[in-house]
């Protein structure tokens, strides 16, 4: 077969294209998942937050949650630190006396809608979904109530209806997913009077946040909380004081939750595949050991028997020889005696 110039160039071309294609495929692969394209999110800027609790009110209304004991305009509630609960998907806390802060600083807490949520990864019945809107939703119609999501969530967001005997649900912020589908804003964002809450595309929100930090470097901490925490969250935070002073954890790292259990889950097929071979091998070894032991025993018995019978034979022949010798001697003795007697008699007769 000869290679024509045309063929050779053709091959080169294919090789060239395939290297290019290869690179494109690699670049487009979701090795690093950075969220659904164009998914939504909310930017919370605590420099703009006045702690009015309107967001709590908005959330309560649109999600038809039970009315709280004290009305939402009662700000004495802020004297205590609160967390999310089955009756409140979002809460605002006030932090007084933070170093370098001019007055009280606020923090709004709700589900952060992780790009790769720990709750969804940990749920064994797929009750959670990271939707393309950015919202992480929960389906109570399949939930078993194991509460592993509450263990898994690094932000301690999901809450549980412990007081319900037969129909307990996980309760958490849904980013108002049903409203998003209708093109409406989340309840909290809708009622926020100061633009401390901004809804938008996550990628755009990050740009907005950077812009604010750039413009007012003395007002903001140079960090967008949620951009990378736990692999990134759809909810983003800007703050005028260090996040740790607001009880927000700065030690969560940037590893998305599913990565944490990936290795352990990956070992399952290896164990299932290799254990039977190893164990059967062990079994075969112990059987072989037994067989060898049995054979050795049999051989030892046979040798011992052979040895014993040889010895017995030898002994027997020895005894026999001895007996023969004895007999011979006895006969000879007797013959001698008899001959002697005969000779004696002859001598006696002769005289």
């Amino acid at each position: 077969m000869s290679i024509s110039r045309r063929k050779f160039l053709g091959w080169l071309g294919v090789a060239g294209i395939s290297t290019v294609l290869d690179k494109r495929v690699y670049a487009a692969s979701n090795k690093h998942f950075s969220g659904y394209p164009d998914s939504g999110g909310v930017l919370y800027d605590n420099v703009l937050c006045i702690g009015c609790r309107d967001c709590e009110n908005g959330c309560n209304q649109v999600n038809e949650l039970p009315q709280p004991d004290k009305p939402f305009d009662d700000l004495s509630i802020l004297d205590n630190k609160r967390r999310t609960s089955p009756k409140a998907y979002t809460v605002v806390n006030r932090y007084d006396g933070i170093k370098d802060a001019k007055g009280p600083v606020y923090r709004k807490i709700q589900c952060n809608h992780c790009l790769e949520p720990a709750c969804a990864s940990s749920c064994f019945v797929k009750a959670y979904t990271k939707t393309e809107t950015g919202a992480v939703t929960y389906d109570s119609s399949v939930c078993v109530g194991c509460r592993y999501c509450m263990i898994a969530c690094p932000f301690e967001i999901p809450t549980y209806e412990y007081d319900k005997a037969l129909t307990p649900r996980i309760m958490k912020c849904t980013m108002c997913y049903p409203r998003l589908l209708k093109g409406k804003l989340p309840g909290c964002v809708q009622l926020c009077p100061t633009e401390a809450l901004t809804f938008g595309k996550r990628t755009q929100l990050i740009k907005t946040a950077r812009e604010r930090i750039r413009k007012y470097p003395d007002r903001y901490i140079d960090h967008i909380y949620g951009e990378h925490e736990m692999g990134g969250t759809s909810w983003l935070y800007l703050s005028g004081v260090p996040f740790r002073d607001l009880g927000m954890r700065e030690d969560l790292g940037i590893t998305p939750a599913p990565e944490l259990t990936k290795g352990a889950l990956g070992s399952v097929p290896i164990i299932v595949g290799l254990w039977p071979a190893v164990l059967t091998g062990m079994y075969a070894l112990s059987k072989r050991k037994e067989k060898i032991a049995r054979e050795e025993k049999e051989e030892a018995v046979a040798t011992a028997l052979a040895k014993a019978s040889a010895e017995a034979e030898e002994k027997l022949s020895k005894v026999l020889t001895e007996a023969e010798v004895k007999n011979q001697t006895a006969i000879e003795g007797a013959v001698k005696k008899a001959l002697g007697k005969v000779a004696d008699n002859q001598t006696k007769e002769g005289t």
Partner: protein, 407 residues
């Protein structure tokens, strides 16, 4: 021919009759005994609390909260229960796979304990999860295969079935169903191998459950080796519980033990004691590696560090040493105490990981301490197990061989 089958069914009937008599006798022996009264009280209390649990919800009987989603029903009943039920798989593996036939007498009690242990774990989970009737959902409706809990659930259920089949021969001997028993006996090796695979998987993945929460579990206990720690510790937990149990059965069921069992008891304690000492030493080494790879030495000086050392030195290194001395001196008492120490250590480890060192970052007001009713329900469930063991061991050939079967 018809006459033959008639006699056959007559023998089956008469053996059923005998089985029923055994059952009545076992029930009488269990409940009309010094402990019988205690059993009855605990069971009655347990039933009342059960009603409370399923009418008032978890809030009615537990101290669980939004911060503390798992309590002692997970930390003790599930995590400790499964670890201590490992005696079944280590004993059957030692006898049927590794060829230690001289411990054959220990297989049935170990399998029964394992079977009851898993049964009780499943009972406890019915109290713990919000809607227990949905427990099959993850397997029939939507498979959340990214969840470690899915693997745990699947393996626990499958292993429970394996243990049931391994337990069946004893029950069939009691019922006199010879043919079925013979079929099941043929599966012994396959079931043992299945048992080891499934145990490796779920014993380790109970540790993997906590891999997803590095920010909540104290760094001294959190390690990427968690699955390995859990599996290895289940192995020595298994050896120790079998030794401990054989000492206990000797005390309480001495009359039901045959000669082989009495004689084998010493052999077993020496053999399993040696194995436990070795595995404990290996575990100690990997725990040290765990601290080293994460470079957490400096944490040992903190209060949590001291607590960690109590667990590691007092309940791993110490029993390892005690076992070694006990085996060398052929001292059954030391071996028994080493076994008790190991069992407590495994319990402590599981409680540390799930409750004590979990959520360590929270202020004490937000921490969990079990409600007395939670503890009472756990005690109730353990009592059910003890009662079931007593009844089954007194009517079925568990601690002795059945005279009709000698394979």
């Amino acid at each position: 021919m018809p006459r033959e089958s008639a006699t056959a069914s007559k023998t089956v009937l008469s053996s059923f009759d005998q089985a029923l008599k055994d059952l009545v006798k076992a029930l009488r022996e269990t409940f009309i005994s010094p402990f019988g009264f205690v059993y009855i009280i605990i069971i009655l209390l347990g039933l009342i609390l059960t009603i409370l649990r399923f009418t008032k919800g978890l809030a009615g009987v537990t101290n669980l909260s939004d911060y503390n989603a798992w309590g002692i029903w997970i930390g003790f009943d599930l995590l400790t229960g499964v670890a201590l039920a490992a005696g079944g798989f280590v004993t059957s593996a030692a006898v049927y796979i590794f060829g230690y036939k001289k411990y054959h007498f220990a297989v049935r009690p170990a399998i029964l304990t394992g079977f009851l242990g898993y049964a009780l774990v499943i009972v406890a989970l019915n109290y713990d999860v919000g809607r227990p009737w949905r427990m099959p959902y993850p397997f029939i409706l939507q498979q959340g295969t990214t969840s470690v809990l899915f693997e745990v659930g699947a393996c626990v259920v499958l292993y429970f079935l394996v243990l049931f089949m391994e337990f069946c021969p004893a029950a069939l001997e009691w019922l006199g169903l010879k043919k079925l028993r013979k079929q099941l006996i043929k599966l012994t090796l396959v079931l043992t191998i299945f048992g080891v695979i499934l145990s490796t998987l779920h014993q380790s993945s109970l540790g993997s459950l906590f891999l997803i929460a590095p920010s909540k579990l104290h760094p001294l206990w959190y390690s990427s080796y968690l699955p390995i720690f859990f599996f290895v510790s289940s192995v020595f937990a298994g050896f120790s519980i079998v030794i401990f149990e054989s000492a206990l059965s000797h005390r309480f069921f001495g009359d039901k033990m045959d000669e082989a069992l009495q004689k084998g008891r010493e052999d077993l304690a020496l053999g399993f004691g040696k194995a436990a000492s070795l595995v404990l030493a290996g575990y100690f080494a990997v725990k040290i590696f765990g601290i080293s790879v994460d470079n957490h030495w400096h944490l040992l000086g903190t209060p949590y560090g001291i607590w960690f050392l109590v667990e590691l030195l007092g309940f791993v290194a110490l029993p390892c040493f005690l076992y070694a001395v006990g085996v060398r001196d052929r001292n059954l008492t030391i071996i028994k105490w080493a076994a008790i120490c190991t069992v407590i250590g495994v319990m402590l480890n599981r409680l540390n990981i799930s409750l004590i060192a979990f959520n360590w970052h929270l202020p004490s007001a937000d921490r969990y301490f079990p409600h007395w009713m939670e503890i009472a329900i756990s005690v109730f469930i353990v009592t059910l197990g003890i009662v079931a063991f007593r009844i089954i061991a007194s009517m079925m050939p568990i601690l002795h061989d059945h005279p009709d079967y000698n394979d």
